[in-house]
Each structure stands twice: as C-alpha cells, then as structure tokens.
C-alpha cells in the first residue's frame, strides 16, 4: 500500500492525462462515423466497401498501427498525434458499422411516414432516423469509448504518458501495486465513462424504455463483439 500512498498525485495526474488522451479519439470517431455509417447504410456499393475497410482496419494490431501510420502520414513516431490518429481509426471502424446497423434497424414504415408528411432527406435524417437509431448508435459508442480508454495505455510504447506509464514503470521497478493501480485506474475510468454515456442516452432519448433497452443493447453488444 505504501507505493500508492506515496504516489497518489502521480496516479491522479496520469489519470487526468489518460482521460484527455481518450476524449479526442472518441469524439472524433463519433463525428466521422456518422456520415460514413450513413453512406454504408444508404448505398449497397459503399456499404460493402466501407464496412470491409472498417473491418480490416480494426484487425490491425495497435503496435503495428503505431509503426505504420507515421511514414504514411509524415508524422513523428513518438508523438501524441500518432496515438490520437490510430485510436480515432479504431473508433471510426467500430462506430461506422454500428451507425450503419442502427440506421438499418429503423422501421421503414416510420421512414416512409416521415417522407409522406413532407420531410426532406436532410431533416428526416436528423429529426427522425438519427434519433430512432440512437440506442444502437449509443451501444457502438460505448464499445468504442471503452476500448479506446483501454488502448490509450499502449501509447506508452511510443512515449505518450498515460496510466500505461504505471505498467512499464512498475514492470521495470517490479512494483506489483503500481501496475495494479494502472489496470484498476483504466477500468475505473472506462466504467465511469460508460456510465456517463448511459446516463446521457437516458437524458437524450427519454422515449426508450429502460428495461427493453438494456436487453436489446446487451444482445446486440454481444453479437457485435462476436462478429467484429
């Protein structure tokens, strides 16, 4: 316990840094995934193409991604931007599929009703399809958020400090508690962010019944995980 008592400020500081590093990829991924997911949902050609590319990108192990991106993009290997871009790619890969699935899951009758009462495609998307697709998009966002938070730790291998610092430092100094603090810290941040996203979903989508939503979400989450 001594290590934790003495190094409490360090853990806290790294935790804050960790959250900061996680937010950009999650937000960027969400923003980029919406138009891509729409493209994948709307046209058969782009659906196959985009979802295949997303699937392949998601397949690339993180360490390999960190090494391949810099020469492709002309950025520095040991840099925060490298980590941010790599994690954004993963987040986009996860979320564009769930946005496409979510839009497909909207009842066609509702879509037609919206068209029938005179909604143009832009307004229909934002005020009918997007909100109704919300619960499934949220499920994808939660998966992307949690895996991003977990992946930020690998950034320590390219010199970006996060809670992952406690892993390598603790490993070198052979302090079990230090590594454990890092692992638990990451899981706590992931849990809190996940919880906040669920709350945000309840505030933004009050029409979704609680019980059935958690049921559908769990099932879909499992199915998604199995197929990703």
């Amino acid at each position: 316990m001594n290590w934790l008592i003495n190094n409490w400020p360090l853990v806290l500081q790294l935790g804050v840094q960790h959250i900061r590093l996680s937010i950009t990829p999650i937000v960027l991924g969400f923003v980029i995934a919406i138009p891509l997911g729409w493209l994948a949902y709307r046209f058969t050609l782009t659906r196959g193409l985009l979802l295949t590319i997303a699937g392949l990108l998601y397949t690339i192990p993180s360490l390999a991604m960190f090494v391949i991106l810099p020469p492709l993009l002309g950025i520095s290997f040991l840099s925060e931007i490298n980590l941010t871009i790599a994690l954004t790619i993963y987040a986009v890969a996860i979320m564009s599929r769930s946005v496409a699935d979510a839009l497909t899951s909207v009842d066609p009758a509702i879509r037609q009703s919206a068209t029938a009462v005179g909604f143009g495609s832009w307004r229909r998307f934002w005020s009918v399809e997007f909100p109704l697709a919300g619960p499934v998009i949220l499920a994808g966002l939660r998966v992307a958020a949690v895996s991003t938070i977990s992946l930020v730790t690998v950034g320590i291998l390219i010199g970006v400090d996060s809670l992952g610092y406690l892993f390598t430092n603790g490993s070198q100094r052979r302090i079990v508690l230090e590594i454990l603090a890092g692992v638990v810290g990451v899981m706590i941040i992931a849990l809190i962010v996940d919880f906040l996203l669920v709350r945000l979903g309840r505030v933004l989508m009050p029409w979704v019944p609680r019980q059935s939503r958690s049921f559908g979400r769990n099932q879909r989450q499992l199915a998604m995980e199995a197929s990703s």
């Binding site: 192990p61 360490l63 020469p71 879509r111 949690v146 490993s171 996940d194 499992l222 199915a223 199995a226």
Partner: protein, 248 residues
C-alpha cells in the same frame, strides 16, 4: 515512401532466414502462442457459453464478463501477471493473460450463437420429440456455428495483437523486431515487422471469414433472401397503389 522500400528490403533480406530470431521462426512463435491460447480459451469458454445459451441462465454474468473484459488493458494484464507469477515463468504468465483475454469473445460467440436461434425452431425440435441434448447438438450448435466462429475470430485477432505487445517482456513473436528496433532506432526493421504482423492478422481474419460462411448449414443458406428490409421498403414506396375510396 523510401522507408517502405527499406522495410520490404528488411523483410526479404536473406539475413531474415538465419539465426534464432529469423522471420519465419518469429511468425511461427506468434502463431503458436495464438493457437495454443485460443484453443485453451475455447475449451473453457465454448461449453460455458453453450450452457448459458441453452439454459438461458447466467446471461447477465456472460454480458458482464464481456463488458468488463473490454475495459481491461491487455498490456497491463500481461505485465501484472508476469510480476505476480514470476519473471522466470513469463511464458506461462503470458499464456494466462492471452487465455483470459480470449475467453470473453468466445463465450459471447458461443452464447450469442445459441441465443440467436429462433425460439420457434427450438420449440419445434422439442415438439417432434428431441431430447435437450439432441436439441443442443443437432439444432442449436449447427445454427449458432457462424456466430461462434465470429467469436473465435475476434478472440484470435485480440490474441495476435496482444502477443505483439508481449514482446515487451521478451516473449518473442513478431513484436520483438518492433520493440528491439525502438531501442536501436531501426525504423526499417520496425516497419517491416509491422507489415508482417498486419499481413498475418489479415490472413487469419480472412480465413475465419471464409470459415464463417462455410459453416452456415445448407438449409439456412437455401432459405436466405437478400437484404429484405431496405429493398422491400423502397419498392413499396415507389410501387404502392393509392387506396381507392368509395369504390368498394
């Protein structure tokens, strides 16, 4: 782009075929770690997933495990287990980490595969007199196989990625040239190894994708139609005839 040329030069250099860290042996190590871990994880997770899927009990546990596992940082888990179990037995520690990381996806695949089977099909099987065991073996498992393979696919890719990170503790595998190159600032070596890892991951992913299609029972493929939802809605919108009022 010259760096990519150097990376390919590194991959195809004759030096890669010699020594204890030759490229083929690193690939072999990487595949061996992956295969053994996924098989051990499957032996544990598939029966458990089938039990949960068939009985419907313990679903919340399965969901909880797969949710929590995603938050578990794999790199931290390896380093933690190595220190806890002992540096002298680091490969055992790494195996435990790989197996732990592979279990949730396989469990989810096995469980979701059975869960996804239409309840009416199961009821029909029960109605024609199949025992619970027959229902599981002849109906639920074959129909759920594609999702199980999907789970194995996710688990395999997860382990391939984690084995790469395990080079940090000196386990070998294709992460080794990257970790070693990092210290030596040998970018050709790092990029070359990264390319090999990506190719390996994509090949494994492709093999599983193929397998996923092959295991779909023939009866299911025969009855399958194209994406009904999107196709039919559009046609209805265009071809729908107006209701004629007052003529009935």
């Amino acid at each position: 782009m010259t760096l990519f040329a150097q990376a390919f030069a590194w991959i195809f250099s004759p030096d890669r075929l010699t020594g204890s860290t030759s490229l083929p042996s690193l690939v072999g190590q990487h595949l061996f770690f992956t295969l053994v871990s996924v098989v051990i994880a499957a032996v544990i997770a598939v029966p458990a997933g089938y039990l949960i899927g068939h009985t419907g009990r313990g679903r919340e546990i399965a969901v909880g495990i797969s949710g929590a596992a995603r938050a578990l940082p794999s790199f931290g888990l390896i380093l933690l287990l190595v220190i806890l179990i002992g540096v002298t037995r680091k490969s055992e520690a790494a195996y435990i980490a790989f197996v732990l990381l592979a279990i949730p996806s396989i469990l989810a695949g096995a469980y979701a595969g059975i869960e996804a089977v239409d309840r009416r099909v199961v009821d029909a099987a029960r109605a024609v007199g199949m025992t619970e065991w027959q229902i599981l073996m002849r109906v639920e498992i074959p129909l759920g196989l594609p999702l199980l393979i999907g789970g194995l696919r996710a688990a395999t890719l997860q382990v391939v990625a984690t084995v790469t990170l395990a080079a940090y503790i000196g386990l070998g595998g294709l992460g080794l040239p990257i970790i070693a190159g990092l210290a030596l600032r040998r970018f050709d070596q790092m990029l070359g190894a990264a390319i090999v890892i990506v190719v390996l991951a994509l090949l494994l992913d492709g093999a599983f994708a193929l397998l996923e299609r092959l295991v779909v029972p023939r009866g299911v493929t025969a009855g399958r139609t194209k994406d009904v939802r999107t196709a039919s809605s559009r046609r209805r919108a265009v071809m729908g005839t107006p209701i004629e009022e007052g003529n009935g």
